[in-house]
Amino acid sequence: MNLTLHVWRQKNAHDKGRMEVYQARDISEHMSFLEMLDVVNEQLVEQGIDPIHFDHDCREGICGTCSLVINGAPHGHQKATTTCQLHMRHFSDGDHIYIEPFRAKAFPVIKDLVVDRSAFDRIMQAGGFVSVNTGGIPDANAIPIPKYFAEKAMDAAACIGCGACVAACKNASAMLFVGAKVSQFAHLPQGQVERERRVRAMVAQMDAEGFGNCTNQYECEAVCPKEISVEVIAKMNREYLRAATKKS
């Protein structure tokens, strides 16, 4: 199939940026979206045009590196799918495809479609951990964890930190991302000790990074490639409220 691509090009963080139009010819339906961009890039290089820069790595939907807003939707319109797992069979010959970076104040553009998501790392550094050092740990089976809670924790822990939730939100809120980590630990006995301190620190850092707040539109849940539920936001709010009533 042949496609017309409208791609955001921006030389660096200081450049204003603009949409450019490229033709993608003879695209196979079995290609992934990023393989289609590889083919286009090969052609651009042949023509002496700087290839389109986009973040990607594992190409199997787990590392969270790939991004892109495709036709207005972070990771495109296929449900529960990262951009790297999106295949061209979901497009038709003659389509126009609009490709933009994840946009948020806290995710400044580095180049073209590549954005800086290090704000997520700083939130994790503020409290996304259990404070145990290596070694001297009791046996792994010493504390039984009900399967239900272990599964709940795993549901939340599946977050890949891609940032689609932020890109989809009109407030650029990171509450699905932060809520996922807070929920994971809130469901596990290992997370109880630092429960209040953790949620306070992570929320404070989230605010400091310039992310907005949740106003219950659930766009984040709709685009999340790992289908993290907005329940985690409710859980985080509950944890935050609980922490506000306690000293620690």
Partner: protein, 637 residues
Amino acid sequence: MKLDAKIPSGPIAEKWSKHKFEMKLVNPANKRKYSVIVVGTGLAGASAAASMAELGYNVKAFCFQDSPRRAHSIAAQGGINAAKNYQNDGDSVFRLFYDTVKGGDFRSREANVHRLAEVSTAIIDQCVAQGVPFAREYGGLLANRSFGGAQVSRTFYARGQTGQQLLLGAYSALSRQIGLGKVQMYPRTEMLDVVLVDGHAKGIVVRNLVTGEVKSYAADAVVLATGGYGNVFYLSTNAMACNVTAAYRAYKRGAAFANPCYTQIHPTCIPVSGEYQSKLTLMSESLRNDGRIWVPKSADDKRAPNDIPEADRDYYLERKYPSFGNLAPRDISSRAAKEVCDEGRGVGDTGLGVYLDFADAINRLGEDTIRERYGNLFDMYERITADNPYKVPMRIFPASHYTMGGLWVDYNLESTIPGLFVLGEANFSDHGANRLGASALMQGLADGYFVIPYTIANYFAAAGAKNLSPDGKDFKRTEDEVNERTRKLLSINGKRSVDSFHRELGKIMWDYCGMARNRKGLETALQKIPELREQFWQDVRVLGTNEELNMSLENAGRVADFLEFAEVMCEDALDREESCGAHFREEYQTEDGEALRNDKKYTYVAAWEYKGVGTKPELHKEPLEFENVKLATRSYK
């Protein structure tokens, strides 16, 4: 070059305890005087950086990804082994040790493997304490599954995302230390060389991938945890950016490279669909617990899989290896798939595929149980192929997955360059000629959490804190060399893209140094690789400048290193005139086509010393001694 493995004396089960006692310590107040550089933040790197920072050392950690959480350990699906014997099925440290040595086809170092099995149990404790949500039974205790090459259930897992959850655990420990200021983290920063001062590794030269700035960092020791070189095949299950550069630059500075020809081809990947293919996707080996592998009995049978009756199917693994069946080790399963495809019985458009069928398991256990066990893998398969594996069998084919070879290290994980330590997939030490499933995660975390924190102290105590400045002449000289190379790559301005060279190299390696090798093919490869390398340096086109984010430039540097490294791999494969584990030389096989080892001549680690680009490297041999496991022909029949 002299290889001294520094294996402690005494009975195998006491070596590590004895060694821990005999090694020198650095007292708690002095630890803050030492600094260490960790390159790579996968399971091995992140766990090492966090653990050493907790002890009080000053750590600088580097990764080329945008965040330390993205390293390719994250993609491991199936699980992590540990000799917990929670299932009461006869597991023990010795059994895990034995299985690993046997699985590696008797080409690994006994002492290292035993230590790995010993610390495996502590890894699970550590991960649970970090909040890793492993699968659990209704009673609240940890669940296990079985995996290829073992007859006990010792594999711990978190759905199909075990690597992700373990990495996020290590990343959380690392993040905590970054927050506390004990680790300086440098993401989007690629190591391009190691700096030696008086023969010791004392720093690295890196390129900031966003600004292009080339800069040196100094420390009292350097730890490489930079993963494997599976992308030498271009198509592999590795992430796109996985590369050999850090390890290869260390090799060029004097670190021996061990057993580069041991490359694992994973039996269960989604087959190639076309020329444009950029990577191959793994389907976890755990699927072989419930899936049955088959091809049609006749090469002419072109019916749809569900129309082929039982009588016309060949469940070849169950037929050839009745006791292990579909759980035969990876090298054996991969070769068996190649064999049936070579006979023309392969399935799918390309004929390069076999069926992995869940119909029996679904009949026996119900679709819900299968969904619970493998749901995310089935979804992934459907997204890529548009086939529904609940209804039609999956099609799978082997692909390059893991590299057992790596930089040579002694028992302390120190390379032949003093002060340069190598962890995880980047070293060669524990898996011999073939790695068993769910053992990579185990080794990465063993090295990082429980080995390097001890052995680095021993080095520090002997070498002392140097507090070097990165402005010294050794640093400047190395920086100049790095800059010169970048300048050269950007100035060629030829006609061909970097990827086109990488693809061509990958094809040479897959055809001549892949699942099966022979002398003639390897000699052909050794002739083709230098020709391709020469073309690369004359005709590659890298656009843009150094002073910006330039992914073609990054890639060009990596492919340039693969183009040199590929030769070392072929030399090693040529030297090893036997078949063992993943290294299958067609000249050396038994009557029924199994690997034929030559223990008299080849029970050694082949460690190669760099002698110049295009010059044959010098081979050094570390003899392997087996005192606890009797050398035997591996049988899974």
